[in-house]
């Protein structure tokens, strides 16, 4: 048993963190968020580095690495809040790669791997997908029906209405399609690739939590009231401890789910539901705590914690919130308990 990353994976993590520390600085993220603009220069650079194709097979122009590597990038992009459509496009590509027909893979994956095509993933009900992340610039949509089946819809085949979501670091759109628009993914059965997509969002949430905790610890060490750093008060330090516990709960389950995706796919559905349940809760709690621990400053537009809170709110409901994933888990547990238990 080994919970550590390999040397190669650590390299990816370090390279990504260093790059984003220089490119997606808080000031730059703020500039794009306030203008509600994607950072096209950064996206172009990430595409040149091959990031969008990290987990896409080499035959389609990707790097052919696994979910763990993809999750590393999602986590780092979450930490930095980079205003790029990475997560949405990676999730769309994942589903097409896992569940699409050979023809669909050949048609869409090369563009998604190079970043020339931007994908987005949304859950659709009654012909409409609300709040599709990065839907503003997406060229192709993977829309998941309530029964888990999916279809691929090009932008031209859909009605795309831009929406101003609370997280201005990424675009959002409401996407409506006619009943027969686009084509069914694969044989039309439930998309197994959704499990991986859930892991990717969960990993991004882990990065957001990690950054929120880091900023909070820095702040409460520095901020003095009554002559001492506020972080020396247990009301504050115990809040920080709780933030760490929530973050580690999310991190451990997300890491496990990422591992199952390639090493033990039979466990993926359950592990992904666990990861998303833990990460959705942690994302909300930890970023809310970050605002609280920053005091009045945390409530101002000028402080950067609110961007984390807003991104976490969107991610927490993306592909189902904690409650819906716990309901899924309960169903799995019920099936298991249904086998002879005395």
């Amino acid at each position: 048993m080994d919970f550590g990353l390999t040397d190669d994976q650590r390299d990816i993590q370090r390279t990504a963190r260093d790059l984003l520390a220089g490119r997606a600085t808080p000031a730059r993220v703020r500039e794009h968020a306030e203008a509600r603009r994607s950072d096209e220069a950064l996206w172009k650079e990430l595409c040149e580095l091959g990031w969008p194709g990290i987990a896409i097979a080499e035959e389609y122009g990707g790097q052919g690495l696994g979910q763990i590597e993809l999750s590393i990038l999602c986590e780092e992009l979450g930490r930095s809040l980079a205003p790029v459509p990475f997560l949405a496009s990676a999730m769309a590509a994942t589903v097409i790669q896992q569940d699409g027909s050979a023809e669909q893979r050949a048609r869409w994956l090369p563009g998604l791997a190079s970043g020339e095509t931007i994908g987005a993933l949304g859950a659709i009900a009654d012909g409409t997908a609300e709040l599709v992340t990065s839907g503003g610039e997406a060229d192709v949509f993977v829309l998941i029906d309530e029964d888990g089946s999916g279809r691929i819809v090009s932008r031209a085949q859909a009605d795309v209405f831009p929406v101003e979501a609370i997280d201005p670091t990424r675009s959002a759109a409401r996407v409506s399609v006619a009943g027969d628009a686009g084509e069914a993914i694969g044989d039309g059965s439930a998309c197994a690739g959704l499990g991986r997509a859930l892991v990717s969002v969960s990993s991004e949430l882990v990065g957001i939590c990690d950054r929120a905790l880091e900023m909070t610890v820095e702040y409460v060490k520095d901020r003095k009231q009554f002559g001492v750093p506020v972080g020396s008060y247990q009301a504050v330090s115990h809040r920080c401890a709780q933030m760490l516990l929530d973050t580690e709960k999310a991190r451990s389950t997300a890491a496990f789910a990422a591992w199952t995706a390639d090493a033990d796919p039979e466990q993926l559905a359950e592990a992904a539901a666990m990861a998303k349940a833990a990460a959705s809760d942690a994302g909300r709690e930890v970023t809310a705590s970050a605002i609280q621990a920053h005091g009045g400053i945390g409530f101002t537009w000028e402080a950067d914690v609110h961007w984390l809170y807003k991104r976490a709110q969107i991610d927490a409901v993306l592909l189902g919130g904690a409650g819906s994933h716990r309901a899924q888990l309960a169903a799995i547990l019920a099936r298991r308990a249904g086998t002879p238990v005395g």
Binding site: F3, Q9, L244, E248, S252, A255
Partner: protein
């Protein structure tokens, strides 16, 4: 990342699993109270000992198997899975023996280790005092040198198994002048002397797992000092570190079993259809899995980097809180009759209240996490 066992580890697990299947403990005594129950666990340890399974983590030269940390964790998983009792001398096996292996003299290892393993001599732990709980280093039990003996006077509390014990791992103040942590010495005290009185401490479950020790001029030969005079704090930390590591792993497995029992109960009553119950159970499942993953991660970190980190405090905190939630939910699932005396869930509910206190209160764990993991400034103690 590789969350699978090696071939060697699987072979270890299969051998143990096979042995446990073929060698169940004697039936649990229905009457005779705690004494009969303890005798049963002592007999069970003897069986484990005869087959070489009492303490696989001990080095072969002391009668163990030199099992790796992972194998040792597998051992506790299998012991838990087979639902056999804990060995009677758990404190000697997990805390006393390993502490002696680090700090004991050759003579001490020679004299004490074998009878720990065979359950011939039971060990208990005399650390906490009425006025020294979380602030352990403020303990007041005094040890005064008298020729080649020490004369010890004081009071200890929360001493589990004291009534069955031959030896007590005792930390006492041997130097009043020295700084708080420096004046302590770690002794092995013979419990079989009149100067040591054991009084059972009845807890909220009604049973007496723990005791108070009243020590009035007990005699301890100088040869029973462990790790040197004035070095007691360091030796005690070795004991406490083993407490977190070994016991911690066994506890998360026990939690899993309780959750599985509760799930079966809920399913049997059709309560998994109730969204509120289903949601609460699913959350417990997520927590249980997270505890398992964090416990394994902590363990493999030790294998890779040596010492366990302060992150172990997270596991203990999450475990204790989860066990309390679980036992409280059990009352809702089983119904009011779960609250009648003698019901196992009522026992679990009450016993669970101790979880966030014993082995480091949740409040102290949060302090440790804040200061040692997050690097937050320490709160200044009020003089």
């Amino acid at each position: 990342m590789d969350l699978t066992f090696s071939e060697k580890e699987i072979a270890f697990r299969d051998e143990l699993r096979g042995w446990l299947a073929g060698n169940p403990p004697a039936p649990e005594p229905g009457e005779g109270g705690e004494d009969a129950h303890y005798a049963w666990r002592r007999d069970w340890q003897r069986r484990l000992y005869d087959a070489g399974w009492a303490a696989p983590a001990w080095p072969a030269e002391y009668g163990g198997r030199g099992a790796s940390l992972t194998e040792s964790a597998i051992y506790f998983e299998e012991i838990g899975r087979a639902r056999v009792p804990m060995a009677a001398n758990v404190l000697g096996l997990l805390l006393g023996g390993p502490t002696l292996m680090v700090w004991g003299s050759d003579e001490q290892k020679e004299r004490y280790l074998a009878p720990i393993l065979s359950a011939e001599e039971i060990w208990c732990q005399g650390f906490s005092e009425p006025d020294a709980g979380s602030d352990l280093a403020s303990l007041k039990t005094r040890a005064v040198k008298d020729g080649d003996e020490w004369v010890v006077t004081g009071q200890k509390v929360w001493t589990s198994g004291a009534q069955y014990s031959k030896w007590c791992m005792l930390v006492a103040r041997s130097d009043n002048e020295a700084a708080k942590h420096k004046g302590l010495t770690y002794f092995l005290m013979d419990m079989e002397q009149d100067a040591v009185q054991v009084r059972p401490l009845r807890q909220i479950t009604g049973e007496a797992e723990f005791n108070e020790l009243f020590i009035e001029e007990a005699r301890i030969p100088d040869a029973n000092v462990v790790g040197g005079v004035g070095n007691g704090w360091k030796v005690a930390l070795t004991t406490l570190m083993n407490e977190r590591a070994g016991l911690g792993f066994a506890l998360q497995i026990r939690l899993r079993q309780l959750l599985d029992d509760l799930l079966a109960k809920a399913a049997g009553r059709g309560l998994l259809e109730d969204p509120r119950i289903a949601d609460a159970l699913a959350e417990l499942h997520v927590r249980c899995e997270s505890i398992r993953l964090l416990a394994w991660k902590g363990l493999t970190d030790v294998e890779r980097y040596g010492q366990p980190g302060p992150e172990g405090s997270l596991v203990k905190w999450l475990w204790s809180d989860t066990n309390q939630r679980l036992t409280q939910l059990a009352i809702d699932i089983v119904g009011a009759e779960a609250l009648t005396a003698g019901e196992s869930w009522s026992y679990e509910l009450l016993r669970g209240r101790g979880n966030t206190i014993e082995g480091g209160t949740t409040e102290v764990l949060k302090n440790i996490i804040a200061e040692r993991v997050l690097g937050l400034p320490r709160l200044k103690a009020v003089a």
